[in-house]
Amino acid sequence: MSTKVQCVICEGDILISDGAMEGELFLCPDCGTELELISLNPPVLAEAPEVQEDWGE
C-alpha cells in the first residue's frame, strides 16, 4: 500500500509506501525537487535542506 502526497513545489503526485521512514528522501517526478519525509501519520513532505558545510563522511 502507498499514500499519495503532493509535491510542495509543483503539486505533482508522489507515492509514499507504507514502509517509508522519517528522514527518507524523494525526488518529485514532475519538477525534480528533492523532498524529505518529515513526519509519518499522515505523511508530510518538505523541501529537503541544502547540503551544509559539515555534511558527509
Partner: protein, 279 residues
C-alpha cells in the same frame, strides 16, 4: 538487557542498510531521528550501544559526547570522530605516527598560503580542514589562482581561516578506499574517475582491488594511530609507495558493500557494534 540504537538525521542508503541488518539479526534495536529531538530526552543508558549516523559531523560529535556522558558506547567514539573530522588533526596524527601522506602545509592567512606554496610547489590542493564529498577542494596550478582563491576564502568565515594545503599527487585515474572494522580491512576498492577528484559522491565508479600485505601493514599502522571501530582510509598510489590521503570516521560504504566486494559491511558493522554492548 542492553539496547542497540542507530541515531540519524537523513536516511542515506547506508542508514537503510544498517536498519535492515539490525532488524534482520533480531537485535533489540531502535532507529532514532534526532532532527527535532533534544538532549536529555534522547534514549540510551549505560551499557547500550549506538551507531551515530547524523549526516552533519558537528551534530554527530555533539551527540556522541552526550551519549558517552551516560555510559553509552558510541561508534565511533567522539574522540575518533573529532580526529577524523578535521584534516589538520588527522594529518598531524599521521605525521606523529610516521605514516606516509602527501606533503602538506598549514597557513593562517592568504599571505602565509602564498609563502607555503613556494615550499610545496604547484600544482597544489587547497582543502577546507572540515568538509567532505570533495566540496570546496581546489586544485591550484599557479600563484595567480592561489592569490584569488585565498582571498575568497578569507571572506568565508572562521572555518576557512586555516589553509590546509597538500602537494598535488598525480594519480593514475583512481584512488583507493579501504574500509576497516575492528582494526581489520573489510574491503578495498578503487575509485576511478577521469576527474582529479575521485569521490564516488562525485561520480567516480568503484572497482575491486586486492589487499596486498604492504597495504595491510600500512592500514594496520593507520588503525593504531587513529583508533576507532570503523574507519574509511583513502590512499594514493605513487612510484614510491602508498600515501594516506585521509581517514573518515563516519564512513559511507554503499560503493564497497555487497555486490562488488561480496562483503556485507552493514551487517558486519551492526554485529561488531552490538558486540560492544554489555549484555
Amino acid at each position: 538487557m542492553a539496547h542497540f540504537y542507530i541515531f540519524y538525521t537523513r536516511l542515506r542508503t547506508e542508514e537503510k542498510l544498517l536498519f535492515q541488518a539490525a532488524e534482520g539479526k533480531g537485535l533489540p534495536f531502535s532507529a532514532v531521528n534526532v532532527t527535532d529531538a533534544f538532549w536529555p530526552d534522547l534514549p540510551g543508558e549505560k551499557g547500550d550501544v549506538a551507531l551515530c549516523r547524523c549526516v552533519s559531523q558537528t551534530q554527530n560529535s555533539a551527540l556522541a559526547i552526550l551519549l558517552e556522558s551516560r555510559g553509552v558506547v558510541t561508534v565511533n567514539s567522539s574522540d575518533v570522530m573529532a580526529l577524523c573530522a578535521d584534516k589538520v588533526t588527522t594529518a598531524a596524527k599521521l605525521t606523529s605516527a610516521g605514516i606516509p601522506q602527501p606533503e602538506y602545509a598549514v597557513a593562517f592567512s592568504p599571505e602565509g598560503a602564498l609563502e607555503a606554496a613556494k615550499r610545496l610547489g604547484y600544482p597544489l590542493v587547497l582543502k577546507p580542514p572540515t568538509g567532505s564529498w570533495g566540496r570546496l577542494l581546489a586544485k591550484v596550478n599557479d600563484t595567480d589562482a592561489l592569490e584569488a582563491i585565498a582571498e575568497h576564502k578569507a571572506h568565508m568565515g572562521a572555518a576557512h581561516s586555516v589553509f590546509f594545503m597538500q602537494q598535488f599527487i598525480e594519480k593514475q585515474g583512481f584512488d583507493l578506499r579501504a574500509t576497516l572494522l575492528g582494526g581489520k580491512a573489510l574491503t578495498v576498492i578503487k575509485r576511478c574517475s577521469a576527474h582529479w577528484i575521485t569521490n564516488t559522491a562525485r561520480g567516480a565508479y568503484p572497482e575491486r582491488y586486492p589487499l596486498s600485505p604492504e597495504l595491510e601493514k600500512l592500514l594496520g599502522q593507520v588503525q593504531n594511530a587513529i583508533g576507532g571501530a570503523v574507519l574509511a582510509v583513502d590512499l594514493f598510489e605513487t612510484p614510491d609507495g602508498w600515501l594516506v590521503n585521509e581517514v573518515n570516521g563516519q564512513p559511507e560504504f554503499r560503493s564497497s558493500d555487497g555486490e562488488l566486494t561480496g562483503v556485507d559491511i552493514a551487517g558486519s558493522l551492526v554485529e561488531y557494534t552490538w558486540s560492544l554492548a554489555k549484555q
